[in-house]
């Protein structure tokens, strides 16, 4: 509850005021600029000058000097004094009469303007008329009337009367709204329409009526049960009431505090949360008010000032007590004290930051995060709480004066590991949140390194993405850290990111060789991929050996999966590579395939080399025992494909090898390449008996080669025709006819056609004979059937089963073709008569 918001500083001390009159008591005061006016109970108005002195240490004191006094000659107490500096006048209420005095010599105005039977008056601080040389006042009379006046230097001009049901004891005015305390209730009067709104009842006999205008269109009233009630000029309340103490005498307001005085205490409430913030013991107070933002309070014989404790100090005190919410609330309202916006923002941010660390220390992570975010804190302040998380070359020192007293999170957690984890998780999520936002601007390195360290500790999968793309992590101390936590794969990636490929690769090779465990590491294929994309070819050479020894087929991808737009280099010249790959037969095949099929290099040696290698492969397989047929077929089809597709290899060389073994299919292709179609076809037709292949051969070799290849085609046609006309082969005539070009003459094929027609004729006749024979057979069967079914079978009670000699009970029975009738279950075999043993054939008899 306790803030020290105000300090009591003596302003006018007893000696100076009292002079010789011992019984004199202060009744009211007014302060206007450097003038203090005091009204006494024995009808004096005393004028002092006052000057505020601020010592170098920031302490405020007052220098005052008596200027003069005036005796008003009625022996009644002076109830109210209000100064109107624009008019050089003070308004004095004494003996129910309101008069005007000169501000400096305290002489009454010559016109003698006055209002009689006044119980209370007040100045309209929000007047409707804006003449600067007049003041509008509201006067409560002893009768049931409230009056409004315009006051000029020497006149009190009556504006209007407002009638109220009871005499008013206190009034307040704002604009056109008059708030009045009547003897039994408060009410709000619209001075233009005279409309009266009841507010709430109160008992003027047991408590003082207080009407205090606190801001535009808002009044503070002392309600029943010692409640401070806020009322707007519309007659409603927009703030909850405040609980005051009893016997309240007067009220002052300096944003955001309401000060209320009774005869023992001055209590300070915040208007923000309506809670009491401070209580200042003050015996025998008689008057308290705010004068242009300054608070003065008078006891019977002395005047004090209530000096506000600077906001910063109040806030710091709150923060020291860890009352974060209150501190922030107060800070938010500090910009009303005339601070420049920049200065305010700076101060406010700092307070937010302090608050954030307090929240953090109390493990209020959400609040802390919010505050850190809003206050745009230097992220290093936060990271520095975590030992070793800042980059070691970072020369950051925490801001002075310190934002907090936290040494590090270990101290906060008191060594409790799970708490430390919570803190680390907080940091991690916070950094993730601000990473890439403007808050992170300029601190990318610090943030990324801290994240890397956090991730490495927990082996979090985000580690990889952090390092791989646009990372701020340098090598300096990340390397040690990653090694310490065994995140070697990430270390490799980090090296790679920084262009240290050699180091990266040595890390990875170590991962493979030494069996060092790192689950994140995807294994050899990853290294191959890196090498394949590596533009430093010397480095590629350095590692290719290692890779190939690990896995030939995988390793060769380093060479075959190069980026498409890579410029050719001496180190990766195909010839050199092939020479090098000599040791790795599988690799060399793959590489040559890459050169021939993918790069489509038209160089004879590659093609021949590849063909030879294929050939060797096939030969080896053939030599070996129990090789699976599929494997051999695969190898041969690869070879054939190659032979067929490429025109660049040395045919003779391959042909020689092919002829040695019985690789007819290959030979055929090779002959084809040599344009020796006769031979080719002969092999196909006679050796392989694969006519489909022969046809295909013809088509393939003649395809799309007209007319320039006409001649060549003709040479192909001849064997084809010969083939067709030869009596050895059997063709599907229809298919052949479809395949034959339209322009071939019938004469050319007459032999083939004659034969085809003849065989077709023959088959037609054969079929017809078969048909007629079938019909005869069918007819005979029918006859037998009719024969068998012609006689009726008489079933009656005397008829007994031929096998068991019992009567038939069921409607079903079996009849054999020879007339024997039995039970169904007695007929064991339907082809053998159970009685005679005669055999019935299933077909026609």
């Amino acid at each position: 509850m306790s803030i020290k918001a105000f300090e009591l500083v003596p302003a006018i001390e007893r000696v100076k005021l009292m002079s010789d009159k011992a019984k004199t008591q202060i009744e009211c005061i007014d302060v206007c600029g450097k003038n203090v006016y005091i009204g006494t109970n024995d009808c004096f108005v005393v004028h002092y000058s006052i000057e505020e002195v601020t010592s170098p240490s920031g302490r405020v004191s007052y220098k005052t000097e008596k200027q003069g006094h005036k005796y008003l000659t009625v022996k009644k107490p002076v109830i109210q004094i209000k100064s109107a500096s624009a008019l050089n006048r003070i308004m004095v209420l004494c003996d129910n009469t309101l008069t005007l005095l000169n501000m400096f010599d305290l002489e009454p105005v010559v016109t003698g303007a006055k209002v009689k039977s006044v119980s209370h008056f007040c100045i309209n601080e929000n007047p409707i008329r804006t003449n600067p040389f007049s003041v509008e006042i509201c006067v409560a009379l002893k009768k049931k009337t409230i009056q409004l006046y315009t006051v000029t230097e020497d006149r009190l001009m009556h504006l209007r009367d407002l009638s109220v049901p009871d005499p008013a004891v206190a009034v307040g005015i704002d604009g056109i709204h008059v708030c009045a305390a009547l003897s039994t209730q408060y009410c709000m009067v619209n001075s233009e329409t005279g409309q009266l709104t009841d507010l709430f009842p109160f008992d003027s006999e047991h408590q003082n009526a207080i009407v205090k205008r606190i801001s535009k269109e808002e009044f503070l009233l002392s309600g029943p049960s010692a409640l401070g009630m806020f009322v707007t000029s519309a007659g409603i309340s927009q703030r909850p009431p405040m609980q005051w103490s009893d016997n309240l005498l007067s009220v002052g307001y300096v944003h955001p505090y309401i000060l209320a005085m009774n005869d023992e205490f001055i209590t300070v409430h915040s208007i923000l949360d309506q809670q009491q913030k401070q209580a200042i013991p003050f015996q025998g107070g008689v008057a308290l008010d705010d004068f242009d933002g300054r608070l003065f309070v008078a006891s019977g014989r002395e005047v004090y000032s209530l000096v506000p404790v600077p906001f910063e100090k109040q806030i710091q005190a709150l923060l020291a007590d860890k009352r974060v919410t209150e501190a922030l609330e107060l800070a938010k309202n500090a910009n009303r004290t005339g601070m420049s916006r920049d200065k305010f923002l700076k101060m406010y941010r700092r307070i937010q930051q302090q608050a954030a660390f307090i929240q953090l220390a109390q493990k209020e992570f959400d609040e802390a995060r919010e505050l850190l975010r809003e206050s745009e804190i230097d992220i290093r302040e936060l990271i520095s709480l975590y030992p070793h998380l800042l980059p070691s070359n970072c020369n950051f020192t925490r801001s002075v004066p310190a934002l907090h007293e936290i040494a590090d999170v270990n101290q906060l957690a008191k060594g409790d590991n799970s708490v430390i984890m919570d803190y680390k998780y907080f940091l991690r999520t916070y950094l993730e949140e601000i990473r890439g936002t403007k808050d992170a601007y300029g601190f990318k390195q610090e943030i990324d390194i801290a994240l890397l360290k956090l991730y490495a500790e927990t082996n979090s999968p985000e580690l990889l993405t952090l390092v791989a793309v646009d990372t701020g992590c340098d090598l300096h101390d990340c390397v040690d850290w990653l090694e310490k936590y065994g995140r070697f794969h990430v270390l490799g990636i980090l090296y790679k990111y920084h262009g240290e490929y050699d180091k990266a690769l040595s890390v990875w090779t170590r991962l493979v060789d030494d069996g060092v465990k790192d689950e994140a590491f995807p294994g050899l294929p990853f290294i191959v991929e890196v090498l394949a994309n590596l533009s430093d070819h010397d480095l590629v050479w350095k590692y290719i050996d290692w890779v190939l020894e690990k896995d030939e087929e995988l390793g060769v991808k380093v060479l075959t999966e190069r980026p498409a737009n890579e410029p050719p280099s001496e180190r990766l010249r195909p010839d050199a590579v092939i020479d090098y790959l000599h040791r790795f037969p599988k690799a060399v095949i793959t590489y040559l395939e890459y050169l021939v099929f993918q790069r489509k290099l038209e160089k004879e040696t590659y093609h021949t080399h590849l063909a030879v290698l294929y050939m060797d492969n096939v030969l080896q397989l053939m030599k070996k025992e129990n090789v699976k047929k599929e494997e051999l077929d695969m190898a041969r089809s690869k070879l054939r494909h190659m032979l067929q597709l490429s025109n660049l290899y040395r045919v003779q060389l391959i042909l020689g090898k092919a002829k040695e073994t019985d690789m007819h299919a290959e030979c055929a292709i090779l002959y084809g390449k040599l344009e020796e179609h006769d031979k080719a076809l002969r092999i196909l037709v006679h050796k392989l008996k694969d006519y489909g292949a022969a046809e295909n051969y013809c088509l393939v070799n003649s395809q799309g080669k007209e007319p320039s290849y006409r001649k060549r085609r003709d040479t192909l046609v001849t064997p084809a025709v010969a083939l067709l006309n030869s009596s050895v082969a059997e063709f599907d005539t229809i298919k052949v006819l479809q395949l034959l070009p339209d322009n071939w003459s019938v004469g050319l094929l007459s032999q083939f056609l004659t034969r085809a027609v003849r065989s077709s004729m023959h088959s037609s006749r054969m079929t017809r004979i078969e048909r007629m024979m079938s019909r005869v057979e069918n007819l005979r069967s029918k006859e037998t059937c009719i024969e068998l079914q012609r006689d009726p079978v008489v079933m009656n009670e005397e008829r007994l089963c031929a096998v068991c000699k019992r009567a038939f009970n069921d409607p079903t029975f079996v009849r054999y073709p020879n007339g024997v009738v039995t039970h169904v279950h007695c007929a064991k075999n339907k082809f053998i008569c159970p009685v005679t043993g005669r055999l019935f054939s299933s077909g026609h008899s």
């Binding site: 209730q185 507010l199 709430f200 009842p201 109160f202 309600g223 029943p224 049960s225 409640l227 009630m229 009322v231 519309a234 007659g235 409603i236 309340s237 927009q238 703030r239 909850p240 009431p241 609980q243 923000l272 309202n333």
Partner: protein
Amino acid sequence: MSSKKKADLKVIILGDYNVGKTSLICRYIEGKFKQQEPTIGAAFFLKQWGPYNVAVWDTAGDEKYVGLSRFYCRSAGAAILAYDITEPKTFESLWARFTPMLVDANEDCIRIVVATKSDLLQPGSREITIEEGKKLAREMNEHIDLSKAPFEPFFETSSRTGEGVKEVFDYIFQYCLPLSAEQKQRHQHEVVDLTDDSGVKRAQKSKCGC
């Protein structure tokens, strides 16, 4: 200064001393039930309803604050009249003591009759029937057209269990500041409603049981 913002709707809660007015509001605003000190004068809460601000005024039930409560009723758009379901006296005083206070409220102020402490109701000990409550609610609202409301403004609630509490305020807000379904949706997305969620879970559990 949140309280200074002009609220779009003023809701006031009235009722006898110790019927549980503050608990009801506290249950709605904070979502929990706790022991409350007697309210002094009045208290104030601000609630977001879609784009609107709703000021919820809690009054003191104690007799000595009668004058103030009437003052705080001024320009209220809705009034919750709360009674303790276990104390028939508090039901009777709604009509006798509290309806007169609402003369200063808005002309079209809707009055919602709310029974509190329904968790304390023993079976068979009920003294005020639902029909009586509804009847009072109808009588109180004769001055306005209730046809746009889905049913009579009568609820039985328990701040301890939370039963019916949200419904009361949703009813009021939806009546006074109608939101389209889309607005509500957007509004609900901003708020993580834990209580709602647990309700769903409970429902699912009971389904599993049978």
